[in-house]
């Protein structure tokens, strides 16, 4: 298998000529840089991760829209395991232990096993992908994820012919996750995909963000991203992946079946019963934007739902 590796030395790490020829100024500037380092210590993995991030389209699955800032992506989260306010996950997740981490693969597979996360990642093609992210609440972001295609893992564990769906489960640790101590949703959080959706090249298991390790508030250490579906389908902090014959239950569908369907594909023509899905507010923008079918990924995924009544299977 071809394993793509990023350059160990990125171009920004090589001393540029103009810096080399002005070494003394450079030394003086270095004192100022000391300040920058101090700032970096105070705000780890924040601005600098984002500044080093290359802009623009990189691969066939990337959007060339401008990514949201690291701060935006890591301070405005829906992760009810840590509380229902958007700021709660960043505030309340410090006690959450993501190392060591194991993932159980079970059900209709030839190779059921419990993997240490490091072993699960072995041999996977880790890629950076810039995806649009649309929340069912009507806001959106552009996020540079790092991860690998779920299809790689599925091929590795060899599902049987009976496997029609993939079911996912979040870790259940109420002692570390304050939100799980209250029953506003049924815990643990569960999600699911149809096998063809799970095998689609856009579907990622995510381990990072902006080229860095995935922050806890974003679903560390392993989460799902399905960019043409509403954000809540992207289950976080996954500990179990089960291959099943029948459509598995999903948490928001259990909570409110007429509001959140199993498919939950982004669809401007099917309103949430309580609000319109025609437009969205891109975080950082003032005016609202139009929402596109399948979150703008129709060309890649619409064929998966050919002939289906998307009003019925919302």
């Amino acid at each position: 298998m071809l394993i793509k590796r990023g350059n160990d030395i990125s171009s920004s790490d090589i001393t540029p000529e103009h810096v080399y020829f002005h070494r003394r100024e450079f030394l003086r500037a270095a004192a100022a840089a000391g300040m920058a380092v101090a700032l970096r210590e105070a705000f780890p993995e924040s601005l600098w991760a984002q500044e080093r991030w290359p802009q623009g389209k990189r691969g066939p699955y990337d959007t060339d829209e401008k990514p949201n800032t690291y701060k935006e992506i890591t301070t405005y989260n829906n992760f009810y395991e840590f509380g229902t306010d958007k700021a709660d996950p960043a505030k309340n997740s410090s006690l959450f232990k993501t190392k060591p981490w194991t993932v159980r693969i079970e059900g209709e597979v030839k190779k059921p096993a419990t993997y240490a996360l490091e072993d699960l990642l072995k041999g996977k093609t880790i890629e950076d992908r810039v995806y649009r992210f649309r929340c069912v609440e009507g806001w959106s972001m552009v996020i540079p994820w790092r991860g690998f295609q779920l299809s790689e893992l599925i091929k590795q564990v060899e599902p049987t012919s009976r496997a029609q769906y993939v079911a996912f489960e979040t870790v259940y640790r109420p002692e570390e996750m304050v939100g799980q101590r209250r029953p506003y949703l049924t815990w643990p959080y569960v999600e699911g995909l149809r096998m063809d959706e799970a095998m689609h090249p856009l579907t990622l298991l995510v381990t990072g963000l902006y080229g860095r390790e995935l922050p806890k508030q974003n679903g560390a250490p392993l989460r799902l991203i399905v960019p043409w579906k509403y954000g809540f389908k992207g289950i976080k902090s996954i500990v179990k992946i089960r291959f099943v014959e029948k459509e598995p239950p999903t948490t928001w569908n259990l909570a409110s079946p007429d509001e959140y369907g199993f498919y939950s594909n982004v669809n401007p023509d099917v309103d949430h019963p309580r609000w319109s899905q025609k437009t969205e507010r891109r975080i950082g923008e003032f005016l609202k934007r139009k929402t596109f079918p399948f979150n703008g990924y129709a060309e890649q995924v619409a064929h998966l739902y050919a002939g289906m009544d998307l009003r019925k299977y919302f």
Binding site: N68, T69, K71, E72, T75, Y76, Y80, T84, K86, A87, E137, W139, R182, Y184, L185, A255, S256, R274, W275, S276, R281, I283, G284, F286, L287, K288
Partner: protein, 213 residues
């Protein structure tokens, strides 16, 4: 300075300043980038929450007087009620402008189609006549009894506000239900105060049994 002067020139301005504090804080936080990365949502949430808080405060004043015998507090009821209307107006304009950009067709559709918006708009419309009749001259013109009847709409506004909040949250209903419970309690106090003397009258048998000579 008489007691009336103190209330008029010291306590009332003080309460008004206090009531403006949430707005000042919101503006301060907005200008200093202290809100979340979705500030327009925060503005909607804050103005909405303060509308409900001031409504509950307004409705708490009469029960408070009944329970504690503290009568001065009634002098602040109208002002606090007007602040509920003030924050409600800000909340409504946040929706009309920042959320819908005055797209009236969409707004009308929203009001008809989205129950939580219908409830919110009902709450606002119920506050409207109360704010409009809050002048002394209006009270005299209407007559105290009719004015009082009209101002019972405040309860309707409170209930509509709680329903508006309840219908818009996704899963965690604890906050709207807390406001609902407070309203229920306040209403309970009023019912108790209304019924108590009547019940006492009926249950005191002495009068009936002793024939009047």
């Amino acid at each position: 300075m008489t007691r009336g002067d103190r209330i008029r020139y010291v306590y009332k301005p003080l309460v008004a300043l206090l009531a403006l504090l949430p707005l000042a804080l919101l503006i301060w936080n907005f200008l200093h980038d202290n809100l979340s990365v979705n500030p327009l949502d925060d503005i909607t949430d804050e103005t909405g929450t303060w509308t409900l808080r001031f409504l509950v405060l307004t409705l708490a004043i009469t029960p408070l007087r009944h329970l504690t015998g503290w009568t001065t507090v009634v002098l602040f009821r109208r002002m606090i009620g007007l602040f509920a209307f003030f924050y409600g107006t800000l909340h409504l304009f946040t929706y009309l402008y920042l959320d819908r950009f005055f797209a009236w067709a969409d707004i009308v559709e929203d009001i008809g189609k989205r129950p939580f918006i219908t409830a919110g708009m009902t709450a606002f419309l119920l506050m409207l006549p109360l704010a409009a009749t809050s002048f002394d001259r209006m009270i005299r013109w209407m007559g105290g009894k009719r004015w009082k009847m009209l101002h019972r709409l405040a309860y309707g506004a409170g209930i509509a506000g709680v329903i508006h909040y309840l219908w818009l949250v996704k899963a965690d209903t604890s906050r709207p239900l807390t406001y609902g419970a407070i309203l229920l309690f306040l209403f309970g106090v009023r019912v108790y105060v209304f019924l108590k003397p009547r019940l006492l009258q009926k249950s005191s048998p002495a009068r009936k049994e002793v024939p009047s000579a």
